[in-house]
Structures are given as structure tokens and as C-alpha cells.
């Protein structure tokens, strides 16, 4: 049986880390992820885990040490945000291409510049093509659950890819909310023991890792990586099903909220989904057929499933908490519209919102649904690429 508690998102993830008891955690502080290694260092120094905690001098070294540790045969984790994630950039790609199942708590924060410590998704969106699996969560509960599942997904032999557990800085990371924690023993059993096939510290089989890969083989290695990402979709669902059996909490590739008979819907990530659900409830109470889709698995992207979910809707708004700076829309919008291309004729508009911690209220979300209802009624789209809550 689980235990009802009240924790901030960062505390919850640190607790998950303690319950997993990884071999190595290497991290460098950056707001708003700092608390994760901070809580964890206390667990380590109080003897609650037997992890080697490596307090590195930068995020670049954090990811480098994670790579060294995971390659050496250790279950390894870290946490970061924004500029820290950017500073890891080079190593993110190397972790993924080396097929090292590292787990990273990515506490979403706006990427400089100008410097801003508040929430948006510009940090992890930039890492979307790095070869990491990306899970997004609305609440402390989801950040915690995803973190535990991430270990199993990452280490699955058909995947062997690193996983980012993304949740909103401050809004989720620093807000105390009610949470259902798993028993320590259940977490231990769920994640099992890490048994890599080949690793540096293996006394019975020496390996070389990180070669110079010439044109004769590089492409084949990339093709394998792409296959692993495809496999990840199946594995995520399998692991989520197992988690459901353990906890009763159901996770898919995305959450469909009141979508059964919906005519208009918004698609988004993370904490704003909760605020939007309140608006959906309000609209539903007035008889409006509004729905919502919250993407949980952004990498791999659930292309076919999204098409099936959006097909037949009269109007859809994709909300991006990061701009794409391509002159046409945000990253989630681009992925959704390309998924729909040739498969469903749905009117889709895009809102860039909440950049740098601009607060998102129920009133803001109402504006989006109002616009969708207008499109549903008239069949015409005024503007595709829009900004919500900007000072005009």
C-alpha cells in the first residue's frame, strides 16, 4: 500500500531517487532543479542510500560523469534545468548515441537569454532531437511516477536510451501538493536490479566504448538508435501497464480529458493541463463539448495515436510553452500538424503562451476555447500562429 503525503515536485522526485537507490548521482545545482540533488545529498549523507553522490563542478561534467558511470555499469541519474541542460547539450547526444539508460529530472525553465528563472519549455524542447525519451507530467504525482517508470523504460533491452522526466519549474517543482507515494519495497521490486550486458567495470569482459565512427558504420548506428526510439513507444505502454497494476494509476502516451464527444480541444504539456481541465469542466457544465489532450510522451512522438484522437474534431488549439522561431509556430504545433498531414482534415491553430513564467490563468484558457468555438461555428481560421497573454 502506498502512503499519502504532501511534497513539492522536487521533493517527490528526490524521494523516488532514494527509493530507487541508484549507484551514482552526479549533479550540479541550477534553479529550479537544485533541490533534487540537495535533498538527495542529505539522503546520501544520512546513510539512507548507498549511492555515490558526485557533486561535479558543472552540468557538462554532470552529464559526462553520468556517462562514465553508466558505461561503467552503474545505474545513474541527475537533474537539471534550462542553461544547465543547454550546457549538457553535447553530452546529451553522446549519452543517447552510446545507448546509456541515464535518467534525468528536467525541471522546465526558460532558457536564457535574457536570463529568467521561471517556467517554460524552451529548455527541453531544444533537446527534443537529442535522442532522449521525453516524458512530461502535470503534477508532483506524475513527476514522481514518471521518474520511477523512466528507469524501467530506459533500461529495457529493446530501448537502452536515456530518459528525461520533465516537469514545470516552480509550478510543480516548488509547489507542495498531495501525493501518493509507493512503498520503498514496491519501488525496489518495480525497478529491479540494473544488469547491463557489457560495461567497463566488468571483470569478465573488457569493452571499448565511444569510438570514432567512420561513414561505413555511423549511419547504421543512427538507424539502430531510431529503432530503439520506435521500440520505446511499446515499452512505455508496457511499463505503464505494469505500473497501473501496482498503483492503480493509469498512464498512456497522452491523457484524453473529456474527449469522447468533444468538438473542440486543446493539446498541451505539463501543469497548464490542470488549469485547462478546470476550464473544460466549466464549459462542459454549460453544455459546450470541449476536451483536452495532455501529451505525456513527447519523444517518441505518438503520431498515429494523436491522429486518431484528433480526427473528426472541428477545431484544435496546440499550446506551446516555447516558441519555435521558425516563423510558423511552436515545436508541439509543428509535430501535431505534420502528424495530421494527409491523415485528417482538422483545423489547427497554435498559441505560444507562458514564456518565462508568464502566469496562465483560467481566463487565458477560456480565450483559447472561445476562439476554437468561433472556428467550429464559422469554419474559418483567422490566424494560425498566435500569442496568448502577451501585452499587445
Amino acid at each position: 500500500m502506498g502512503k499519502r503525503d504532501r511534497l513539492s515536485g522536487n521533493e517527490a522526485v528526490a524521494v523516488a531517487m532514494r527509493q530507487i537507490n541508484p549507484d551514482v548521482v552526479a549533479a550540479f545545482p541550477i534553479t529550479p532543479s537544485t533541490e533534487v540533488p540537495q535533498y538527495f545529498a542529505a539522503f546520501a549523507n544520512d546513510g539512507l542510500v548507498d549511492t555515490e553522490f558526485v557533486p561535479v563542478e558543472s552540468e557538462h561534467s554532470a552529464m559526462s560523469a553520468c556517462i562514465g558511470a553508466e558505461a561503467a555499469g552503474a545505474r545513474t541519474m541527475t537533474a537539471t534545468s534550462a542553461n544547465g541542460l543547454a550546457y549538457m547539450w553535447e553530452m546529451l547526444y553522446i549519452a543517447a548515441s552510446s545507448r546509456l539508460p541515464i535518467v534525468l529530472a528536467a525541471v522546465n525553465r526558460a532558457l536564457s537569454g535574457p536570463i529568467n528563472i521561471h517556467n517554460d519549455h524552451s529548455d527541453t524542447m531544444g533537446a527534443r532531437d537529442s535522442g532522449w525519451v521525453q516524458l512530461y507530467g502535470e503534477t508532483n504525482q506524475e513527476a514522481y511516477d514518471n521518474f520511477i517508470m523512466a528507469v524501467k523504460i530506459a533500461e529495457h533491452p529493446d530501448v537502452c536510451l536515456p530518459v528525461m522526466d520533465c516537469y514545470d519549474g516552480f509550478i510543480t517543482s516548488h509547489s507542495v501538493e498531495v501525493i501518493e507515494l509507493l512503498d520503498d519495497q514496491d519501488v525496489k521490486n518495480f525497478v529491479g536490479e540494473y544488469k547491463p550486458k557489457a560495461y567497463l567495470n566488468n571483470p569478465n569482459g573488457k569493452v571499448s566504448m565511444g569510438p570514432l565512427d567512420m561513414p561505413a558504420y555511423y549511419f547504421e548506428h543512427k538507424r539502430q538508435q531510431a529503432e530503439a526510439m520506435k521500440n520505446a513507444k511499446r515499452v512505455i505502454l508496457e511499463v505503464s501497464e505494469e505500473f497501473y497494476k501496482l498503483t492503480g494509476r493509469k498512464y498512456g502516451l497522452f491523457e484524453e480529458y473529456k474527449m469522447e464527444d468533444a468538438e473542440v480541444a486543446i493539446v498541451l504539456l505539463n501543469s497548464t493541463a490542470g488549469t485547462a481541465k478546470a476550464v473544460v469542466d466549466e464549459l462542459r457544465s454549460k453544455g459546450v463539448k470541449a476536451g483536452l489532450i495532455k501529451i505525456r510522451v513527447f519523444r517518441p512522438f505518438p503520431v498515429d495515436e494523436i491522429v486518431a484522437a484528433l480526427k473528426g474534431l472541428k477545431a484544435v488549439a496546440v499550446m506551446d510553452k516555447a516558441d519555435g522561431f521558425n516563423g510558423a509556430g511552436g515545436p508541439l504545433f509543428t509535430d501535431i500538424t505534420s502528424a495530421l498531414y494527409g491523415k485528417a482534415d482538422v483545423k489547427v491553430i497554435n498559441y505560444i503562451y507562458g514564456l518565462g513564467g508568464r502566469d496562465v490563468r483560467t481566463d487565458d484558457i477560456e480565450v483559447v476555447y472561445d476562439e476554437l468555438l468561433k472556428i467550429a461555428e464559422t469554419g474559418s481560421v483567422k490566424s494560425v500562429y498566435n500569442y496568448l497573454g502577451i501585452k499587445e
Binding site: 556517462i67 558505461a71 567497463l200 569510438p211
Partner: protein, 317 residues
């Protein structure tokens, strides 16, 4: 710890032939010598920064390493090996490795990956005190990308980014004293060494220092002169003539610092003039042009100053 070549030659070779370093390269000679200091029964995990050594010794699917080896990037050999070492400690603690299994962690980087782009990562790993050895094979320029100047390049050397031009005659700055920077990390063992010709005891100095570094607990650092025939412009057979003259002119002093105490390993009876070092290498040809005598004087002055300084700090006079 006495060095007996015959006995050392009985140990298994840890770096195979078939790697793609240039003919006559100093780096694999250094690597072989360092790894020979490992006890035959001890396992090693080796890391290399991106550089000549890495791209030449591990071109998929051919690895020249008989031990476990990892490369991840240019600037992070210190951090990468520190992660592997942390994994070792954790795995030992959790009983995932046999209790009697010893693994030694050794990182190699050129002067580019060590003095420059990798300095932060190295400094962090050393300060944290992982049980590891970091070996810089110093050939005094970014040789892998085509002989660009580094902060280890000696003053006035001709490189592709500090060319001996008609108005600016080569690199203008003194080289960085990395060994001193590492010593300032209060490491248990720091040494400067080189593979040498038999009149200097051959590989004794390098072997013994490598052995001490590997078997001293904590983070240890070796700075090893590793001539590059292409970058220095000398004929390949002369590798050890280069290192011999470097120590005889005191351009590359041999010393070790144990718990902060400095000991010179070799004091030439008669310090040779720096010209002898310079004239052996094409990268200094321009300093011998008429009118450039001042450059040799400047180099000599700097060599004298650092040598005097070392003599003053030498604790076993």
C-alpha cells in the same frame, strides 16, 4: 619499485599495434609506459579525451586497447573517468564486483584536452579526489586538428594559428605551467616526466612516476612530454633525442610533488643552452634567422627563471 625492463617486458601488452597514430608518435610510447606500471593482475579502465590518441586507437570496430576503454568528448576526460570511478565505488559497496577485484582508473588527454578545453573538468575531478590518474601527453599544440597553438605551446613556436609571420614571429605567450596548477589542487602526487634515452635511464623516470601515481590513493596527475614529429618538425627516429635535450636544457624539468613537497628528479651537471633544444626542431627555425637572436635570449631567460625557481623549491638538495 625498482625498474627492471626485463621484468616489465614479461607483463601483458595493454596497447596493441594496429592503431593509426603517426609513425614515430610520442603519445603511444607514453601510454605504453604508463600502462606497463600497472600490476599484471590489476584491471584498468582507461579514458581518453578526443584527440590524436583517441581517434587513432579506437576507430570502430578496431580498438587498440586491451583494457576497458571509454571516450566521450574532448573536454571531459576528467569528469568521464570520475563517473566510472564513482561507479566502481558504488558497485563495490553493493557487492556487484568481487571484493578482491582491483580496478585502476586512468585518463589520457593531449595538451588541448588538458591545458585548455578540458581544464575545468580536470580541475573538478582532481578537487573531488577520485582515485584516478590523469595523464597529459603534452606535445605542445593541437596536433589532431593540424598543429594549432595551445596554452602549452612554447613561446615563439611556429604553429598554424601562431605562424612565424614577418610581423609576428610565432606564438607570443609563455606556456602555461599546468603541473603547478595541478599541484595547487593539493593532490597526493603530481609529477612531470618524459620517456628518455638510455643515458637518462630510459623509461625509469616515467615508469616509476606512473607506478607511484597509479598506486597512490586519490587523484594524481602526470604531465608527460610527448614529442610530435609532425608538429615539432624533426625526423621520426629522433623521438628520445628530443626528450633528452629537453631535460638537458631544462626546458622540461623532471620533478615530482608529493604532498606538496617538490623534488627534482634530474639536475643536469651542466645545463645545456636552449639553442640545442630549439635547433633540433623545425618549429623554431625562424628564431635562428639573423636579427632574431633576442628571441633565443628571451627563451633562455624564461627557462633560467623557471629552473632557478624549481632549484629553490627543491627539497632534496
Amino acid at each position: 619499485m625498482a625498474f627492471k625492463l626485463k621484468e616489465e617486458a614479461l607483463k601483458p601488452e595493454r596497447l596493441t599495434g594496429g592503431h593509426r597514430m603517426c609513425a614515430g608518435c610520442g603519445a603511444p610510447v607514453v601510454v605504453r609506459a604508463v600502462l606497463r606500471a600497472l600490476k599484471a593482475e590489476d584491471q584498468a579502465v582507461i579514458c581518453s579525451a578526443t584527440g590524436c590518441l583517441e581517434v587513432s586507437t579506437f576507430m570502430y570496430p578496431y580498438t587498440a586497447w586491451n583494457d576497458s576503454f571509454i571516450h566521450s568528448a574532448f573536454e571531459n576526460a576528467g569528469a568521464t573517468i570520475s563517473g566510472a570511478e564513482a561507479a566502481y565505488k558504488a558497485m563495490k559497496k553493493k557487492g556487484k564486483l568481487p571484493a578482491d577485484q582491483t580496478i585502476k582508473f586512468i585518463a589520457f588527454g593531449g595538451d588541448g584536452g588538458t591545458y585548455d578545453i578540458g581544464l575545468q573538468s580536470l580541475s573538478g575531478a582532481m578537487e573531488r579526489g577520485h582515485d584516478m590518474v590523469y595523464v597529459c601527453y603534452d606535445n605542445g599544440a593541437y596536433m589532431n586538428t593540424g598543429i594549432q597553438r595551445s596554452s602549452a605551446t612554447p613561446r615563439f613556436a611556429d604553429t598554424t594559428t601562431s605562424p612565424a609571420g614577418s610581423s609576428v614571429p610565432g606564438k607570443q605567450q609563455q606556456r602555461k605551467d599546468l603541473t603547478a596548477i595541478m599541484a595547487a589542487h593539493h593532490l597526493p602526487y603530481v609529477a612531470q616526466t618524459a620517456p628518455l634515452g638510455s643515458k637518462h635511464g630510459g623509461f625509469k623516470d616515467l615508469h616509476e612516476k606512473a607506478e607511484k601515481a597509479i598506486y597512490t590513493e586519490g587523484a594524481c596527475f602526470l604531465n608527460v612530454l610527448a614529442p610530435c614529429p609532425r608538429g615539432w618538425r624533426y625526423d621520426t627516429p629522433k623521438l628520445l633525442e628530443m626528450t633528452d635535450i629537453a631535460v638537458d636544457t631544462c626546458v622540461w624539468p623532471l620533478y615530482e610533488i608529493v604532498d606538496g613537497k617538490l623534488t627534482l628528479s634530474y639536475i643536469p651537471k651542466e645545463k645545456k643552452p636552449v639553442e640545442e633544444y630549439l635547433k633540433a626542431q623545425g618549429r623554431f627555425r625562424h628564431v635562428f634567422k639573423k636579427g632574431n637572436e633576442w628571441m633565443i635570449e628571451e627563451i633562455q631567460k624564461e627557462v633560467d627563471r623557471t629552473w632557478e625557481d624549481l632549484l629553490n623549491r627543491n627539497e632534496t638538495k
